[in-house]
């Protein structure tokens, strides 16, 4: 008897009363279909026009339809729920739309003038309106790499030290420093550029250089590295620190040989996020490295170029071919940022 009962339970299918019945699904589909058919007709007869007009009409029609359905099914209270649900879904769509559009346009337009020589030549002998198989962004790519390398060399150690101060030392100024790091992450990039301009370019008598740009970038990079490093170091269990100290190690040995290695992948994520933050900065570079058309390796002696600045300056010329080159610059820049972003995600994903 009991066994049979158990068998009955085990073979029982869970019925899910909240699942939409076929009839409901047909109704929902009909509403969308009717809205899709009606909206072009309405657009035809009113002053609306274009893709955005169609989308807007379709949205309003399907909203009205879903309100009607939920009112007929469950009464007034369900109407608020239906409206809110469609608004929330459409707000999410509104976020994905520009992202998809940005990715699509950067790739499709950037691809048009992407050639091998984009990576092997600079613009020193080429006018912006020349054919696409002449000239390239080599100087800008190299410039970005050099700038980012110098900025990292400055702000990665300082950022990690700040993170260590906030998690290991916990000195009297802990809250002040935490606040200041947050304040620093809100400093507009143009202000960082102005600051470096006022201290270094004016100080050296109008001498633009890649190093000045790297300093401006390191100001923007420092808070990102420091905050992420702090988050990661916080996750290291206290047991590890106590174990290190209990073995007779001094604090610095514990930190250097136990805590930091344990947080290594997270710290690498912090560095990558910092690099991704500054690789695309344009405004501070406008005031510090000025831009240049020739390939330059020495960051101390002359104006340099960088990918965002290359894109921006070509765009400012207003010529069609230059703008096409600017899209290619944007594509290369976007590719670099995307790769960095994916690496940062992979690193932080493994941690959890």
């Amino acid at each position: 008897m009991t066994t049979q009962l158990q068998n009955d339970f085990s073979t029982m299918k869970p019925n899910r009363p909240w699942r939409p019945t076929p009839r409901k699904m047909v109704e929902d589909f009909l509403v969308i279909a009717i809205a899709a058919v009606l909206s072009p007709i309405i657009v035809q007869f009113t002053g609306l026009a274009g893709v955005s007009g169609n989308v807007l009409t379709f949205f309003v029609l399907s909203l009205v339809g879903s309100i009607g359905i939920s009112y007929s099914r469950q009464g007034r209270k369900a109407v608020a729920n239906a409206v809110a649900t469609s608004l929330i879904y459409s707000s999410f769509t509104l976020v994905m739309l520009p992202l998809a559009s940005i990715l699509y346009t950067v790739i499709s337009r950037g691809y048009q003038s992407l050639r091998i020589n984009t990576f092997t030549q600079d613009m020193s002998l080429t006018q912006p309106e020349a054919a696409f198989d002449q000239g390239g962004a080599l100087h800008a790519i190299l410039g970005t790499l050099i700038l980012v390398a110098i900025a990292s060399a400055i702000s990665v150690p300082l950022g990690i030290l700040t993170g260590l101060y906030l998690t290991e030392i916990k000195g009297r100024a802990e809250n002040l420093i935490r606040f200041l790091v947050q304040a620093m992450s809100g400093v507009p990039s143009i202000v960082a550029g102005l600051f470096i301009y006022s201290i270094i370019i004016i100080g050296s008598g109008g001498h633009y250089s890649g190093f000045a740009g790297a300093l401006a970038l390191s100001i923007l990079m420092l808070p990102t590295v420091a905050r992420t490093a702090e988050e990661v170091l916080k996750l290291i269990p206290n047991d590890l620190r106590e174990a290190g100290v209990a073995l007779g190690a001094t604090q610095w040995r514990t930190v250097v040989m136990v805590v930091v290695p344990a947080a290594r992948s997270g710290i690498i994520t912090a560095i990558i996020l910092g690099v991704a933050r500054v690789a695309g900065e344009t405004a501070p570079l406008l005031l510090t490295i000025l831009g240049n058309n020739t390939t330059h390796f020495n960051p101390f002696d002359a104006p340099m170029s960088a990918l965002p600045l290359y894109t921006f300056n070509l765009l400012r010329t207003g010529l069609n071919t230059a703008i096409s080159r600017a899209w290619t610059g944007a594509l290369v820049l976007m590719f670099i940022v995307l790769v960095l972003f994916i690496f940062a995600r992979l690193g932080s994903g493994k941690k959890k």
Partner: protein
């Protein structure tokens, strides 16, 4: 029986147990503390240097620099005195950021709600990553996209708004020119700050106690009435803090605004009309041909922008921290 004679005559002295850090630890603590104070030094230096470089400007124009509406580099040879004032740019910055916030806030909160309560489980993580990715896209790319792709659409929407809501003073235009208006700049900014507001709202929503959500459902709430009565009251201050943070980001945005906003040195509240202001993009615009006094004026503008964003960021951090600390 142990061999007693093998033991040394005198036992070594007892090791001293002490909490005084060793010399190496003192060095370590000194280095780390010094590293920690870099942010203080940098912020102090920024304020100090911008203030000293722009001292002349503030002495010449006093408060008029912040309230004045005119930017004229003058011509000392012909006796035309320069007049520098960033009042219109400050108002323009506020208008543009506010327009951006008006669009970004509901969309970002809706997205955060979608990602927390509506999205199917397998979709949550990839979609969150995609929204975070938007924060990593360089601003010059937003500017490019805003100018070439968004602007044609936005002009159409602006004309539509003007046609049907033109009786409202803000939506009227003195001339039918809709390109590069505060409305369009605000739209681009809203796309740029949505990921920030979404991230902070999502963080707050994920802290809503589960028992309250379940209690609301148990009392027969629909999903929306649960959100309205549990999630939104709990998360309201977090949303406000996120909005402030987005506002601060929007006010400091330079390149994207430069590309999609037409600068005009008079306050303009007709958001659909092609005239606006932004301190940050004014600095870029004027930087190339600035004379020595004008350059000092740009430093002063940078200082004002720095102070304004610091205040906005301070307030937002205050609100967010209060939101996460009070364990309602």
């Amino acid at each position: 029986m142990p061999d007693i004679s093998a033991l040394p005559e005198t036992l070594p002295e007892r090791r001293e147990l002490t909490t005084v850090p060793r010399f190496s630890d003192k060095v370590f603590r000194g280095v780390v503390t010094a590293g920690g104070f870099v942010s203080l030094i940098v912020l102090g230096l920024i304020a100090l240097f911008l203030a000293t470089r722009s001292f002349d400007v503030f002495r010449m124009f006093k408060l008029g620099f912040v309230t004045g509406f005119n930017w004229d580099s003058g011509d000392p040879d012909n006796g035309i005195t320069p007049i520098l004032g960033i009042g219109a740019m400050l108002i323009g910055t506020l208008v543009v950021s506010f327009v951006g916030l008006v669009f970004a806030l509901p969309i970002a909160v809706g997205t955060a709600l979608y990602l927390t309560y509506y999205a199917p489980y397998w979709l949550k993580k990839p979609m969150t990553i995609l929204v975070d990715l938007m924060a990593a896209i360089p601003s010059v790319i937003y500017g490019l996209w805003g100018f070439f792709i968004l602007m044609p659409h936005a002009i159409y929407w602006a004309k539509l708004i003007h046609k049907y809501l033109g009786w409202f003073p803000t939506f009227s235009v003195p001339l039918p020119i809709f390109e590069r208006s505060p409305f369009i700049a605000g739209l681009v900014l809203s796309v740029m700050i949505i990921p920030i507001i979404t991230a902070i709202s999502r963080e707050v929503f994920s802290q809503v106690p589960l028992d309250r959500i379940q209690a609301a459902y148990a009392l027969g709430a629909t999903r929306w009435s649960m959100i309205r009565s549990v999630v939104l009251p709990f998360g309201s201050s977090g949303i406000a803090g996120g909005a402030m943070l987005g506002l601060g980001r929007a006010m400091g945005e330079t390149v994207a605004v430069y590309l999609v906003l037409n600068l005009y040195f008079l306050p303009n509240f007709h958001v659909l009309f092609s005239a606006g202001g932004s301190v940050a993009s004014m600095i870029v615009t004027k930087f190339g041909e600035a004379g020595s006094l004008e350059l000092k004026g740009l430093m002063a503008a940078g200082l004002v922008l720095f102070i304004v964003t610091l205040i906005v960021n301070y307030l937002s951090n205050l609100i967010v921290r209060r939101a996460s600390r009070s364990g309602r």
